[in-house]
């Protein structure tokens, strides 16, 4: 039994559907499509898959996916709670734990949905037993604090105030992610760069956040395959070896609305998974060559740059200037365009891009790519991992 998961497993296959405003097919159909393409990318037979992982708010049940794959002996299935974001990298932890303890050998992690054309679940829907989540939203919805942007804006407003930061920093992030996407044929914003004038011309959705501070509703899906590092060596692609992976929930955590901590401009769940990832890998922020930072909103990037130690608390709004998040910058970030400009797939496309960065196949490939950080979650329990080479 290993006493550490460091370098024991690797991501060996990635797959995705096209990203669009209207897929025209079911979420299960999208799921099976990207799962299939991930397994084929790994060069494994479908029968090799004996584990499946997704995260909550997923309409495609594990056994429905298994039936599509013709799985005869599925020995591990798991679903991470507090979905839409926090689960994307958490799935990796589930898979690694199962593989390193011999519960299964090869896990596919997936997420696909019709985020643009499909009917979104309504937070006011009440059915089944009374849940803590329903009680929770009752502290916000009656006042019209509804949806992720309104919550993100609350943190952002306080951040801008405390650090005397301007929305120029948010513009910088939005424009940089768009630039990356404009070069990515798979992105929703392929060949559609924008200027800061475009950014400042976009309407407010929830002040201080504008339309272009927000990610883009998308239909589509991604999947990836994890197996042991041993087995990975025999497969077709250079493996993205998992140096460390962490899941974290911190003091006074709510689902999105963690407004009651002494500070709401620090995110202890990010700080927790950063500490864990660095400790277990023996690496530090200086070792990270590129990152997929979960970016449902521009300001989430600021918060993570600080929590993961790329700059000091309160300084991220300066760090992002001067092209530091660009391909040639200090920390090439969200090189596919991220949730903001490639596609909003609740974080999973940040994982697949991190794998491409290690393989050296990103459309915006930085020269140095020994270690890549990928994160997920914003205001919910978070997760993060560090990928490296074989």
């Amino acid at each position: 039994m290993p006493t550490t998961i460091k370098d024991k497993c690797a991501i060996v296959g990635i797959g995705q559907t096209e990203f669009s405003e209207k897929s025209g097919r079911s979420e299960l159909h999208l799921t099976l499509e990207c799962v299939k393409s991930a397994i084929e990318d790994a060069g494994l037979p479908f029968s090799a898959v004996d584990g499946l992982v997704t995260y909550s708010i997923d309409g495609s049940d594990e056994i429905a996916v298994a039936r599509g794959l013709g799985s005869k002996e599925l020995t591990f299935f798991s679903r991470v709670p507090h979905g839409s974001g926090g689960g994307a990298v958490s799935m990796v932890q589930q898979a690694v734990l199962a593989i390193t303890t011999g519960m299964c050998e090869t896990v596919v992690c997936y997420r696909a949905f019709n985020g643009a054309s499909g009917v979104q679940p309504k937070s006011t829907d009440v059915g089944g037993p009374l849940s803590t989540d329903q009680i929770h939203w009752g502290w916000y919805n009656p006042y019209g604090l509804v949806g992720p942007a309104s919550v993100a804006a609350m943190y952002t407003q306080r951040y801008l105030h405390e650090y005397n930061a301007s929305d120029e920093s948010l513009a910088e992030i939005a424009v940089t992610m768009r630039k990356h996407a404009a070069n990515n044929p798979e992105a929703m914003f392929y060949q559609k760069p924008m200027t800061k004038e475009d950014y400042f011309g976009s309407p407010f959705i929830v002040e201080p956040l504008r339309q272009y501070d927000s990610s883009i509703a998308t239909d589509g899906g991604c999947a990836f395959v994890i197996t042991s590092a041993e087995r990975a060596k025999e497969l077709r692609h250079p493996p993205a070896v998992i140096r460390s992976v962490a899941q974290g929930s911190a003091y006074d955590q709510e689902v999105m609305t963690s407004f009651y901590r002494s500070s709401i401009t620090r995110f202890p769940e990010y700080e927790l998974v950063a500490k864990e990832c660095y400790q277990h890998s023996g690496l530090c922020a200086n070792d990270i060559d590129a990152a997929s930072l979960y970016d449902p909103f521009t300001s989430a990037v600021l918060f993570q740059l600080e929590s993961f130690g790329f700059c000091k608390q309160g300084e991220a709004h300066e760090f992002v200037k001067n092209g530091n998040l660009g391909v040639d910058g200090q920390l090439p970030c969200n090189t596919s365009g991220g949730q903001l400009s490639e596609a909003h797939l609740q974080g999973i496309n940040g994982v697949t891009e991190a794998v491409r960065l290690i393989r050296g196949t990103s459309v915006n490939q930085p020269v140095k790519n020994d270690h890549v950080l990928a994160t997920s979650g914003f205001g919910v329990p978070a997760s993060a991992m560090i990928l490296g080479k074989c």
């Binding site: 006011t124 009440v126 009374l130 329903q134 009680i135 929770h136 939203w137 009752g138 502290w139 916000y140 919805n141 009656p142 006042y143 019209g144 604090l145 509804v146 949806g147 309104s150 804006a153 609350m154 943190y155 407003q157 306080r158 105030h161 309407p203 407010f204 959705i205 929830v206 002040e207 201080p208 006074d252 609305t257 407004f259 009651y260 709401i264």
Partner: protein
């Protein structure tokens, strides 16, 4: 067609006492019977001493704007936009999310003093709303 109403809170054992006091015109804060720690939103267990015994005190209703947002969209039926939603820090130390009313949203500032009034927002629901303090 009947006028759309604001979204309702789902009421259960853990939040009913709070909403009942709102209907009586008070702004309650949950207090641990064992160690006296105040907490909001209400929940069954004290995070400091793990006591399951709690009671409610009435807040003074005075506080400051700790943070705020101005919602433009998505526009949900039952609300008027632009809609100011504040994170209010009460002078007792707990925070609460509510609307900031009686002021142009453009004039709201972090740190400004506010005070509560319990208002009937429709025939069926009372909410604690905050407006600039008179002092």
């Amino acid at each position: 067609m009947p006028k759309a109403l604001r979204m309702r809170p789902v009421i259960g054992h853990d939040n009913r006492p709070w909403w009942d006091r709102i209907d009586e015109g008070e702004l309650p804060i949950q207090r641990c019977c064992s160690c006296g720690t105040l907490r909001h939103p209400p929940r069954p267990m004290c995070w400091k001493c793990q006591s399951l015994e709690s009671e409610y005190i009435n807040a003074s209703g005075k506080g400051i704007v700790y943070s705020y947002v101005v919602v433009h969209k998505p526009a949900v039926p039952g609300y008027e936009y632009p809609l100011a939603v504040g994170l209010i820090e009460l002078e007792e130390g707990t925070r609460i999310v509510s609307n900031i009313v009686g002021i142009n949203p453009e004039d709201i500032e972090i740190g400004m003093p506010v005070e509560v009034s319990i208002d009937a927002v429709d025939d069926e629901m009372n909410l604690p709303l905050f407006r600039p303090a008179s002092r």
